[in-house]
Symmetry: C2
Subunit: 298 residues, 2 copies
């Protein structure tokens, strides 16, 4: 397990926050936590296996080796796992959401690669990434990963299980969340290109556009593919938005000063899950309660 | 007309080579040429109008204004027009190919923008583009244009006219041609990252992967959307590959030394069209005979 999760980014993964939790849970709670933890770990492992199978290192190796490396060098986003969990929550099979989850990770990995690209107006290298390749290669690899993610999804069509119009709907969801109205807008604002208000307003906006909308998209895509009703899709989308924003804000330096905002967002997220009557929401709710998901059994 | 075409890139557009043609065509030929020219001009104008409608300058303007600008700052690729022409050739309606043609232009515009990005390992600015924005903005805009092109296509689904599985097939075509196995591979080789053989071998490979496969994709997508038979789709794909390579090589400094290669490719392209019995191939064949398409009526 430790090996499988070792590449996880400590800022975004919810598996890695366990040891700092001062509370000692009850034995019954520990069983629930173990179940939750093993659920997310199995989802993450399956997404990873799916990606590894999908990006073989083949000819031309100068193209595919960096693509493979940069796909896995990026920290995992729980938006991909949420896609699978939302699909299962509404009664779908895990395999139905796998291509969409992989596509979400790939779009996120491309964005991560480009965010860390040394441009001439980014004089100092950004922390957080080991540059194994020249900027030219990292730029092109990111450019290759974006269409590849969507190709994977478009190719995943199995008319016997999922209607092609559902796949198209999911493609629209993912392109919107990761394009100019979503993630790219967040990246713009993060660069300080627009001044939206106070520093906290900007953090909130960036986290809404980046982690928020990516998780919203993940949850909605999973629910669409799993055959959820429109109401369930929208409820899970709102849950994803709040849960993603929580993750985004918690990863910021100013998180300690935004506790009130975080609690409010968690409350909103929980409220959405409560409205999903008759559904097993414990697993998915652990996304906003890292300590529940992450505690080690000892 | 002059205004509408004034933004055309002189290297790739086939409308702009007229005045250097020393041969004087016959009056009958002039009529055919005028028809051909007005056909391509109308196709290009419709693609442009479709793109303009699809990318309004809306909020956030910091995101959409550069997106609009960089979409139209890129030289036009005839691969987009070929998509429309192939669709009409097999009996489809022009509107059925419009979203795919726009997506092809957008993918090409994103690649063009990123190719001209000043990276730290690209010390001298590349010629051919006026940098209106900072590198950060151009990078992000390119990243936004790629998913937007595919979103446009996925959203274009009109089940009454085109089955969603056809749109998915076209998405796979476009993502492959513009991703790591196609255009991105060509860009790698253009940077000299791999040494494939002689200088001419590299030019040929790059032109196959860039202009060649983009035109092959354009022709195939048009034929798919227009309801062409599998054989027609593959014939038009091969025509597009050769025609695109001709355009690519003709745009290179060494083109004068590759006349034999160019003639061979034109011959291969014509051979493909001849096999399309009973189809009106004059319009499409003008793509490899710029003088026919471009001569001015005087």
């Amino acid at each position: 397990m430790a090996t499988r999760l070792s590449h996880f980014n400590h800022k975004t993964s919810f598996f890695t926050k366990s040891r700092s939790n001062p509370r000692r849970p009850s034995p019954r709670c520990i069983v629930a936590m173990a179940r939750t933890q093993s659920y997310w770990a199995s989802v993450e492992a399956e997404i990873e296996a799916y990606l590894k199978k999908s990006i073989p290192i083949r000819s031309p190796e100068t193209v595919f080796e960096p693509m493979h490396h940069l796909t896995f060098a990026a920290p995992r986003t729980t938006a991909a796992a949420l896609c699978v969990a939302a699909c299962e929550l509404v009664g779908g099979g895990r395999d139905q959401a796998m291509a969409a989850a992989a596509a979400i990770h790939l779009m996120h990995a491309a964005a991560y690669t480009h965010e860390h690209l040394p441009l001439t107006d980014r004089p100092r290298p950004r922390p957080g990434i080991q540059h194994k390749y020249d900027p030219n290669i990292e730029l092109l690899t990111g450019d290759g990963i974006i269409p590849f993610g969507l190709e994977l999804l478009a190719r995943s069509m199995d008319p016997a299980r999922t209607k092609p119009d559902k796949i198209l709907r999911v493609i629209v969801e993912i392109t919107r969340a990761t394009g100019s109205q979503g993630m790219v807008d967040g990246q713009y604002q993060e660069l300080g290109l627009d001044q939206l208000g106070s520093e906290y307003d900007i953090i909130e906006y960036v986290c809404r556009k980046k982690e928020g909308e990516l998780h919203a998209c993940g949850a909605a895509c999973g629910a669409i593919l799993g055959g959820g009703a429109e109401e369930e899709i929208e409820t899970l989308r709102r849950f994803g938005l709040h849960a993603g924003m929580v993750q985004g804000i918690q990863g910021k330096k100013k998180a300690g000063l935004m506790e009130e905002k975080i609690e409010k967002l968690k409350e909103l997220a929980h409220k959405e899950l409560k409205s999903l009557k008759g559904k097993k929401t414990e697993l998915i709710s652990s996304l906003i309660e890292p300590s529940v998901a992450a505690v080690q059994i000892s």
